[in-house]
């Protein structure tokens, strides 16, 4: 299969998956028994008439398939509608939250991918060493424990115990920054940033470390490394060659992890009260704010699908021995 054919096929699959995902989201929201207004009626906050009006406003009185078509159309034109509980466009809620999450997680992921991969390669090369053993146990602890547990432990030690760093939110209550530059480039922000950043780095370190370590271990006995050694290459150079050969699974995994980023650490955002997309989603679910839920879940699904596609393409492009069709 030519690369072009492979690309077209993969993209088509990704598009189909996106459509099916949004349909599943739609279905699970609509099939669920209650809707947010019935609760309000029961409590007497709204009259039946007002509810009818509201339902009309949100298009909830139309036949289900019309609602579905409109919903799909709106999603793909990125019009997420109006929040049911906050009476403002969902975009206004979601986009800043998305930014906050990205600012926290992307740097953390990049840092941990680079550092842990290098450490993992070194550990694999020195299989059986103290460094390897300790590295595996420590990263396994942080990878295995739920991230909110790590977060809580960090909070107890560094915020409540030692009182070094703030425990809550993204900025001090008094700060009122304007624009991205002020928001993200201040000492106040940095202080709030350190703990959640550390928790994320620790959480993801285990996967990259083990993956890099295993890839290097797998290649260590290989014939081609023996030939490199026979050529007189120094140990560090041999390790570099083994590392280069292990890069492919790491890059692929990095792409996949990036896709799963938003859904991976929802509890972390809750623990640190980080105003990100995960926390926004949890609140929207608690408030039964459908449009916000739809938008947030859609963004999360889209990220996974797009990054999966990226990973496939990266794999096909990076490995000189693999023809695209074999992926």
């Amino acid at each position: 299969m030519s690369f072009q054919r492979f690309l077209i096929k993969r993209t088509a699959i990704a598009a189909m998956l996106t459509l099916i995902s949004v349909s599943v989201i739609f279905a699970s929201l609509r099939l669920l028994p209650s809707d947010p207004f019935s609760g309000l009626v029961a409590s007497g906050a709204l009259t039946a008439e007002q509810v009818t009006q509201l339902r009309e406003m949100y298009g909830l009185d139309e036949p289900i398939y019309v609602q579905y078509l409109k919903y799909v159309r709106n999603l793909f034109t990125l019009q997420f509608g109006i929040s049911l509980t906050q009476q403002r466009p969902v975009g206004e809620i979601i986009i800043p939250a998305l930014m906050n999450t990205l600012v926290l997680l992307l740097p953390a992921l990049v840092v941990t991918a680079v550092v842990s991969s290098v450490a993992g390669m070194y550990a694999g090369w020195n299989r059986g060493s103290k460094f390897e053993q300790a590295g595996i146990v420590v990263t396994t602890f942080f990878r295995a424990s739920p991230i909110f547990v790590t977060g809580i432990l960090l909070l107890i030690v560094f915020s409540y115990g030692l009182n070094w760093l703030p425990a809550f939110g993204m900025r001090s209550p008094m700060a009122n920054p304007q624009g991205y530059a002020q928001t993200y480039l201040s000492v106040d922000f940095l202080k709030h940033y350190i703990l959640p950043f550390t928790a994320t780095v620790l959480f993801y370190s285990g996967d990259f470390l083990m993956l890099a370590r295993n890839s290097v271990v797998e290649r260590k006995g290989s014939e081609f490394l023996m030939l490199h050694r026979a050529k007189g290459l120094s140990e560090m150079k041999q390790l570099a060659r083994a590392g280069r050969n292990s890069l492919l699974p790491l890059v692929t995994y990095f792409a996949l992890r990036t896709g799963m980023l938003f859904q991976g650490v929802i509890t972390l955002e809750v623990v640190f009260a980080w105003p990100g997309i995960g926390r926004a989603l949890v609140q929207a679910i608690l408030n039964q704010d459908y449009p916000t839920v739809q938008a947030a879940v859609f963004i999360m699904a889209l990220a996974v699908i797009v990054m999966n596609l990226t990973a496939d393409i990266a794999y096909a492009k990076l490995d000189p021995t693999i023809k695209a069709g074999d992926v």
Binding site: I13, S21, S28, S34, A144, S145, I152, I156, N214, I305
Partner: protein, 306 residues
């Protein structure tokens, strides 16, 4: 179909040899220090999960501790409450002992369910290939795309959560992981000569699949079942922490949720640490044992011995 299906004698023979292998494997895993610690922790966890409520000094929810008539709110560990009390005057130790059980149920059954479902899907997908494979793999792609926690939250926000429902929801979202790995493993095993050979000797698909392919990927299957136990515990605890656990029982995740919501996290370290370390120790143990096991079942990690 008689000759094409499995026969009891073969199955028995296979089982006994699998059992022998399992014993040998455990002996090797036991060599690994990390795994040894892990196994000890897991054994104590299972013990607490089974008998915790009976050895707890108080009822975790109904008993309110009082001293001189006053409710003991957020008191530090003392003779009366070895691990202190919660802000409602409940005994933390009792909650800790009772809270292991839901964690155990979700972990064990979530893990086993995930392992079995994933194994079967992966086996079918990898063995038959073609359209069946295409369909099943797109299905796994879909479950990858739909975010686990939000979807589980959504479902649980409308149905009142109980331990078994949570377990089922987790299995629905977790089976994809073992399925993918098993599938790729099956595709390698399928190409091996003895599988072709079995077909040439007249064995049907069912027989080839379950007697020749499956036993040779069983190790990986167990490995991912073990990991799935870990994932289930983490996911179950996360749900409980977000307030979507079973409201009628005490679990470690729920304990953390209560201490966090009540704001007592700032002071009541005795309330935070037992469930936090409980979860971390159990999941870490599962993974450590899994890692040691992986060194045995993953042939590619054995380059040095050859």
């Amino acid at each position: 179909m008689s000759g094409y299906s499995l026969d009891a004698e073969t199955a028995r023979d296979r089982l006994s040899s699998e059992f022998g292998r399992a014993k040998e494997t455990m002996a090797v895993v036991w060599q690994d220090t990390g795994a040894k610690f892990g196994l000890v922790i897991l054994a104590s966890f299972v013990f607490i999960g089974l008998f915790g409520p009976y050895i707890a000094p108080y009822h975790p929810i109904e008993d309110t501790l009082r001293r001189q008539g006053a409710m003991m709110r957020l008191t530090a560990p003392s003779g009366k409450a070895l691990l202190g009390t919660t802000s409602f005057g409940k005994d933390v130790l009792s909650q800790f002992l009772a809270g292991a059980r839901p964690t155990l149920i979700i972990g064990l059954f979530g893990g086993i369910g995930t392992g079995i479902l994933g194994f079967l899907v992966g086996l079918t997908s990898g063995y038959f290939g073609g359209r069946i494979d295409e369909f099943l793999m797109r299905l796994t792609d879909l479950t990858f795309a739909l975010p686990l926690l939000p979807m589980a939250l959504l479902i649980l926000s409308f149905v009142s959560p109980n331990v078994w429902l949570i377990t089922a929801v987790l299995v629905i979202f977790l089976w994809k992981m073992p399925a993918r790995v098993i599938r790729s493993e099956v595709m390698t095993v399928k190409e091996r000569t003895f599988v072709k050979s079995a077909r040439a000797r007249g064995a049907g698909h069912l027989r080839t699949m379950f007697l020749h392919v499956a036993p040779n990927v069983l190790g990986i299957g167990f490995l991912y079942t073990a990991y799935a136990v870990g994932w289930s515990i983490v996911a179950g605890a996360s749900l409980a922490f977000l307030g979507f656990g079973d409201p009628t029982t005490t679990s470690w995740g729920r304990m953390l949720q209560q201490v966090f919501r009540s704001g007592a996290i700032r002071v009541a370290w005795w309330w935070v640490l037992p469930p936090a370390f409980g979860i971390a120790a159990v999941t870490t143990s599962v993974f450590l044992v899994g890692r040691a096991f992986e060194e045995i079942v993953n042939p590619e990690l054995q380059t040095e011995e050859q």
